[in-house]
Symmetry: C2
Subunit: 338 residues, 2 copies
DNA sequence: CAAAGCGCTGCAAGCGCTTACATAAGCGGG
DNA sequence: CCCGCTTATGTAAGCGCTTGCAGCGCTTTG
């Protein structure tokens, strides 16, 4: 088993062919379960491949067939709960389907442009999954002309398939929940207005919030809205702003769980308690929301990665025409913070 | 710019050669800054490549040169703060150095074996980074005979280069800190004894804890030690055990921040407060430790990924012989929980 | 019984690069 | 002025696969 070929444990298709007493073409066909291979031959080849620990070279395969069986996933940052959850979901499906997964962190518009251009030009992947990276027109153009399979997660792009949550509904459900709890002064911690990432997400959720207030005959008080970075610190700072008000809100809707964590910390630092002095809720279904008692709206992040990967594989394997837009359901989880 | 070649935006080296009026060999050399290319020629080639948006096909390059300029990183799970932090650090360095990054989740010993075998046989990467995945002898054998560059993070493996923290010291420092705070009944939340992942980590940290107690003339009371899964829930359950004791510890050393989060939740659920009723500290430098006021030992996880990647690139590029074992410093961060 | 069809296999031409090796200039010294 | 050396470029042989096509032996059919 240890290095039978003397080439670093690596056997080529020719070694297998020699061992099985057939041509390389037959080996290739047998190992890929193509038709027109006698079952006795297939068995001999399979055994030879197994005993040589043969695995087809992905690069050679790519070069010859035009398909790399690799997909690349781009996220704004890697060290974030949200994106690692997506990654985990996608990886599970892709490895299961025999695809390899490359990752890239794409933190700026420039990096995004370079990423797209490189993906199109180098063609090292058959498909792309872009997570929370709204594309510029030029980038869309390049991708459209590239015959790469493209899926987006977290933002809509008419040219490509996408996996989405209904952020409008999320905003409404959250606000409704706080309203049901008796709150009438409901604040909101939104994302940075000109945040280059997660573009439409905060906008839509905030819009849902406004809609729900309106439908209850309330008006969205701009004074109760504070924007910060989509992060723990952003939430903390924004919350501090709201708590400084003469008449602060009795409940706050944070647009992400991490912002909500920050808000809870800010609240605690001011000597206030949750939910008595101020109720707080977030969105995401963060794994620490349970432990911190945070009410949240679970948007099944891992599932988004799973679905996108599954559909992308279907697209690349040409089995079925996958749905162009898939909505992942989200659901309210009520905990102590409200 | 949009699809000048009519081939999905993809130009080959031949297109560039034609555009620059030279042979493909010259293009290849010019674009890789090899010597013996006239600077005028190099410029013409560079311009042609730019205007065609040419990027060498990585697979063709791999096939021809034997080097893939790809590294693969294997982690037990992807959706975990720790591993995503490592990933982020490694990705930043690798992409900077022109390497692509493939990832694999390797949750079981079987998966690990398959991963190693596949990496060796398919040879799709030049190098491997194994994070917290102690290798079996057979796997070490395969890798040794494979001329893949191998780096390990979080565990020692004499055959390969590794990036480590001094877990013994971490255990000592943590215990010392609690001792300094006046605690004499110091409990510990350790990892599962037969946890197939993060093998030696809990063992070493617990050993440091014991050493420090001993050096202060105390004995490690086995009754104050409780093992659970290296996770929030694991910490919570283990802490619940300790709190049920007739004479519970006044301070608890959790072997990871996530366990500490669980422990804090358990404490709160019992109506006790931190640090007055029981002090708690963790290890990691988790991004939510600050917000939760958790005293921790920052082990600079992202930095571990950075260093491993940087050294691996040096190894693969053959520039310098990288150090075989690199220790990342860790430092105590004192917060409200103690 | 010849022709046609089918199942299985081999041959060989690439896929887009890299890299030995060959070749062609240009240049200075004997 | 020729030889040998250096420098710049081209030629072509792969790298390890896939795949269109041809070919072989059989069975089926008119």
């Amino acid at each position: 088993m240890t290095d039978p070929t003397g080439r670093g444990g690596r056997a080529t298709i020719e070694d297998v062919a020699a061992a099985a007493g057939v041509s390389v073409a037959t080996v290739s066909r047998a190992l890929r379960d193509l038709p027109n291979v006698a079952s006795s031959t297939k068995q001999r080849v399979t055994e030879a491949a197994l005993s040589l620990n043969y695995r087809a070279d992905p690069s050679a395969r790519h070069l010859a067939s035009g398909r790399s069986r690799n997909v690349e996933i781009a996220v704004p940052v890697l060290n974030s709960w949200y994106f690692s959850e997506v990654l985990a979901g996608a990886e599970a499906v892709l490895s299961e389907c025999g695809y390899s997964l490359s990752i890239s962190a794409v933190p700026t518009p420039t990096a995004r442009f370079d990423f797209v251009r490189n993906a199109v030009a180098s063609r090292h992947a058959d498909g792309l999954i872009m997570v929370d990276l709204p594309l510029a027109d030029l980038e869309i153009d390049m991708l459209e002309n590239s015959n790469l399979g493209v899926f987006t997660i977290g933002f809509k792009c008419p040219s490509f398939h996408s996996v989405l949550v209904d952020n409008l509904a999320i905003g409404r459900i959250a606000t409704e929940h706080l309203f049901d709890r008796g709150h009438r002064r409901i604040g909101i911690l939104t994302g940075q207005p000109n945040d280059s990432l997660r573009f439409t997400v905060p906008k839509d959720r905030a819009e849902g919030y406004r809609q729900m207030l309106t439908s209850h005959g309330l008006v969205a008080d701009p004074g109760l809205s504070c924007s910060g970075h989509f992060s723990v610190d952003g939430g903390r700072e924004a919350m501090n702003q709201l708590l400084k008000l003469d008449d602060p809100p009795t409940a706050v809707f944070a647009l992400s769980d991490e912002m909500a964590f920050g808000a809870m910390a800010a609240t605690r630092d001011c000597g206030l308690t949750t939910p008595d002095d101020v109720a707080i809720m977030g969105v995401d279904g963060h794994y620490l929301a349970e432990i911190t008692g945070l009410t949240t709206i679970d948007q099944h992040v891992g599932q988004q990665g799973v679905v996108a990967a599954r559909q992308l594989v279907a697209l690349l394997d040409g089995a079925v025409e996958p749905a162009r837009q898939i909505e992942i359901e989200s659901n309210l989880i009520v905990r102590g913070s409200t």
